[in-house]
């Protein structure tokens, strides 16, 4: 371990410790620290270790998110996440390898700038609570779907290349969780919320069908990442419990990091398993979140919404199966690093633990 890495980990530990110390039993705070810790520990290509400027940006994202949580006002909350969005935009630009010369229109920074401006627009005193809420939801939808602008542009994606995508997914999930749990305006009508609960699953399904027009696995996977973030947004608007939302954000980002398109990597034992679980396929951590939500909703509308989400995800899994190549799988552990093995073990054993844990917490709250 280098001195820089030690300094980095020390800084992270202090910040994380402070965050948990502030609210020791708050799921959002613990989830934030865990989420960032997982993204660092399971950074399979060690991008956060070997690239110092990326490391600085990663710390900045963690810092701004932490700041957003410490400040107890919607203004500061949006300010923190807007800052995080800009840092993530620079992370994307620094690390993604596109087929041809990049053009601004294919940059993830453009939608992220849109997120920043919309998050600022909520401070406009001339906006009513309803309009302000609509602007907030649009900004969160943009944050969730920033990767769609790059469809068809990426070169070969190796495991770990998607680190910025995972960071984006985590930060988006955290923003959605905090916003829907604490800052949802009281002045909005029930009708508006109901309309959104229909519109967002419809958008998810549309994206899933849209996936079928792309042949490459990476393009389909980018759509999956966006769909998963939209799913978290929908759960937030349905007032799902915070612990489920935070689990979806943390484990969703953890799954995204393990996707690989590299044929060399897919021959290893952990490769196909991790790639498959990255899609939230049955048996993985993401599928556990789905299982938990199956019977969580009471209204017919929300149940229908959940059915639409399952349909969308099944469509995406079919698309994944059609585009991925699982040939010549080597079932030895020789080529796998400890990170891959550990991540694979988490994906295999985690779902049961997650379901039992969340159900225990829920029943504890209920009693």
């Amino acid at each position: 371990m280098t001195r820089v890495e030690m300094a980095f980990l020390t800084l992270f530990s202090i910040a994380g410790g402070l965050l948990i110390y502030q609210r020791p039993f708050d799921a959002i705070y613990i989830g934030t620290v865990l989420g960032f810790l997982f993204l660092y520990a399971f950074d399979l290509r060690r991008i956060t270790v070997f690239n110092y400027s990326y490391k600085v940006l990663w710390l900045c994202v963690f810092g701004t998110v932490t700041y957003a949580f410490f400040q107890e006002s919607p203004e500061e909350f949006w300010r923190g996440f807007a800052g995080a969005a800009i840092f993530i935009g620079v992370m994307y630009e620094q690390n993604y390898r596109l087929k041809s010369e990049r053009h601004s229109s294919h940059s993830t920074l453009i939608p992220l700038m849109g997120f920043v401006v919309l998050s600022m627009s909520q401070n406009l005193a001339i906006l009513s609570a309803e309009v302000s809420f609509a602007v907030a939801v649009v900004s969160l939808v943009i944050m969730s779907t920033v990767d769609l602008g790059c469809l068809g542009q990426y070169k070969l994606i190796r495991r770990g290349d998607l680190h910025p995508l995972a960071v984006r997914s985590l930060v988006g999930g955290l923003a959605i969780t905090k916003y829907t749990a604490e800052y949802l305006p009281s002045g909005i009508s029930a009708e508006t919320l109901e309309q959104l609960r229909v519109l967002i699953p419809a958008l998810g399904l549309m994206l899933a069908i849209f996936t079928l027009f792309y042949k490459r696995a990476i393009d389909r996977f980018l759509v999956f990442a966006s769909t998963w973030s939209l799913f978290i947004l929908w759960m937030g608007l349905c007032q799902t419990s915070v612990i489920v939302l935070i689990s979806a954000a943390v484990f969703g980002s953890l799954s995204l990091i393990s996707f690989s398109e590299d044929p060399k990597e897919s021959k290893e034992f952990a490769g196909p398993f991790l790639t498959w679980s990255a899609w939230g396929a049955p048996g993985s951590l993401c599928s556990a979140i789905l299982a938990i939500n199956m019977n969580a909703y009471t209204s017919l509308q929300d149940r229908l919404g959940m059915a639409v989400w399952i349909l969308s995800l099944v469509t995406l899994w079919i698309a994944a199966l059609a585009s991925l190549e699982f040939k010549k799988i080597n079932f030895s552990l020789d080529g796998a690093s400890w990170r891959q093995v550990f991540l694979a073990a988490m994906q295999a054993l985690g779902p049961a633990a997650l379901v039992i844990g969340i159900e225990t917490v829920r029943s504890g709250v209920g009693s």
Partner: protein, 480 residues
């Protein structure tokens, strides 16, 4: 009565002048570094002296041709810090090959201080003309301004226009109010003459002079067919000096005179209708719409950056026109934040060996080679653009919370400025193989680290900027 203590910084600068001239006359050719160092030391001592003058009660300096209230002190400090940084960069780059450059830097400080502290319109006008001439001279000597005689002719015309407008302004105030001191005018104008046309004319003149000082040099470089060859410190710092002088004109010549504190509230309001604040708002709304578009359309990176920094100052002035005390405090702090962002950008650009004449194409892929400096440069752009999480963003948030449709101008401005930042970032991290891996222009590692220090300050420890801004506007709110 003027207290003589106010002239201590001027005396320091004068002694610096004399020493540089003496070394030039009787020294040897190898004393180039000594002259540069003397200039640097004079500016540093002058800045310390000006900073320490805040301890003296401001009422001592409230009469006469010079004034040193919190407002003028704030502008003086900002100007001196900018000029000191400019000289520091010149000294490090060893660009001061002749004493002319050093003398012009010193004259920049003298005229800058005079603009910030002058208590009369005419004296201020003369100082502005001196300032613009010093800027032009410095740019020509350091080889940054192309065009030679043509540029000189154009700048002479501009100075004449400025001088004429300023003289006309001084004559008008003297004829109608029988007073030429700004401090006295601020008291007299509270009771309007009942001739709104006259007051509007004076307001328009002040706005015109302010805009000319801020914008003309940037446009001059854009319009010029000769490509500018200047270094980042010279071009950006001189533009900042002019921008700060322009802000001083807007605030001290305009807001201080033509507004009064609203009874029972934390706001200032116009003395006459529609008033200086409203006129300035109209003009700045147009400026804020055009500037980011000009930055996007600029042919050189440096030109775009110059427009972006002017945009940062225009945002601060626009926020001030809403008259809210808290917003004005933040906006005054934003001027300091803009100077700090410029320092971070200049250091980052120097670390990447990116010259002032670099086109957008030269930026391609540079971030893949110089990762840390490029990230610092991009974050400096983010900071000055008013995007989160840096200080300027907070100013804009506070302004947006004011219940006025005019705030939509800021949203449009942010949108276009965001595109500028995105364009720079996308270009910087292209996979370009032909990026030259030159050694750094500055032969040490601190220029790479210092921008991050500045950016951390602007992101987290900015509170003192707000407090100093709040201190400076005590003059406007009569809290002395």
């Amino acid at each position: 009565m003027t207290h003589w203590g106010i002239f201590l910084p001027y005396l320091t600068l004068l002694s610096g002048f004399l020493t540089v001239i003496c070394i030039d006359l009787w020294g040897e050719e190898s004393d180039v570094r000594a002259k540069s160092f003397v200039t640097l030391a004079s500016l540093a001592v002058c800045a310390i002296q000006t900073g320490l003058l805040y301890r003296v009660p401001p009422l001592i300096y409230m009469r006469g041709s010079f004034v040193l209230d919190p407002l003028s002190l704030y502008f003086s400090m900002l100007l001196l810090v900018t000029i000191l940084f400019l000289q520091l960069m010149r000294h490090l780059e060893a660009k001061s090959q002749s004493s002319h450059g050093d003398l012009l830097v010193l004259s920049l400080a003298v005229f800058g201080l005079a603009v910030a502290q002058s208590n009369r319109y005419f004296l201020g006008t003369v100082a502005i003309v001196g300032l613009t001439w010093s800027v032009l001279g410095l740019r020509m000597i350091e080889g940054t301004e192309g065009g030679g005689a043509k540029q000189l002719h154009w700048s002479m015309n501009k100075s004449m226009v400025l001088l004429t407008l300023g003289t006309f302004l001084a004559a008008l105030t003297l004829s109608f109010w029988n007073e030429s001191q700004l401090v006295e005018l601020a008291r007299i104008v509270v009771r309007p003459l009942g001739k709104p046309g006259l007051e509007t004319t004076i307001a328009v003149l002040v706005i015109g002079i302010g805009l000319m000082v801020m914008m003309w040099p940037a446009f001059q470089q854009t319009m010029s067919r000769e490509s500018a060859r200047g270094s980042w410190p010279i071009n950006l710092c001189t533009q900042l000096v002019l921008g700060l002088a322009s802000c001083a004109i807007f605030v001290r010549w305009g807001i201080q005179i033509f507004t009064k504190v609203a009874v029972g509230s934390q706001e200032i309001e116009n003395v006459f209708s529609p008033g200086f604040l409203m006129d300035t708002k109209y003009v700045l709304a147009v400026v804020l719409t055009l500037l980011p578009i000009l930055a996007l359309g600029a042919s050189r990176v440096q030109q775009g950056a110059v427009f972006l920094f002017i945009n940062g100052m225009a945002q601060a002035l626009f926020s001030m026109t809403f008259g809210n005390r808290e917003v004005i405090s933040y906006a005054m702090g934003q001027l300091g934040a803009t100077v700090l962002s410029a320092m971070a950008l200049i250091l980052a650009m120097e670390s990447m060996a990116l010259s002032g004449s670099s086109q957008w194409v030269d930026l391609k892929g540079r971030g893949q080679v110089f990762r840390a400096p490029m990230v610092a440069a991009i974050l400096s752009f983010v900071s000055v653009a008013g995007l989160a999480p840096f200080y300027n963003h907070r100013v804009l948030i506070k302004t947006l919370r004011i219940n006025s449709p005019w705030t939509l101008v800021l949203i449009f401005n942010l949108l276009v400025v965001g595109l500028f930042v995105a364009r720079v970032t996308v270009l910087a991290f292209q996979n370009e193989k032909s990026v030259p891996r030159q050694s750094l222009q500055l032969k040490s590692t601190w220029p790479e680290l210092l921008p991050y220090g500045i950016l951390i300050f602007l992101g987290i420890f900015w509170d003192c900027l707000y407090k100093y801004g709040s201190f400076s506007i005590r003059t406007l709110f009569g809290d002395l």
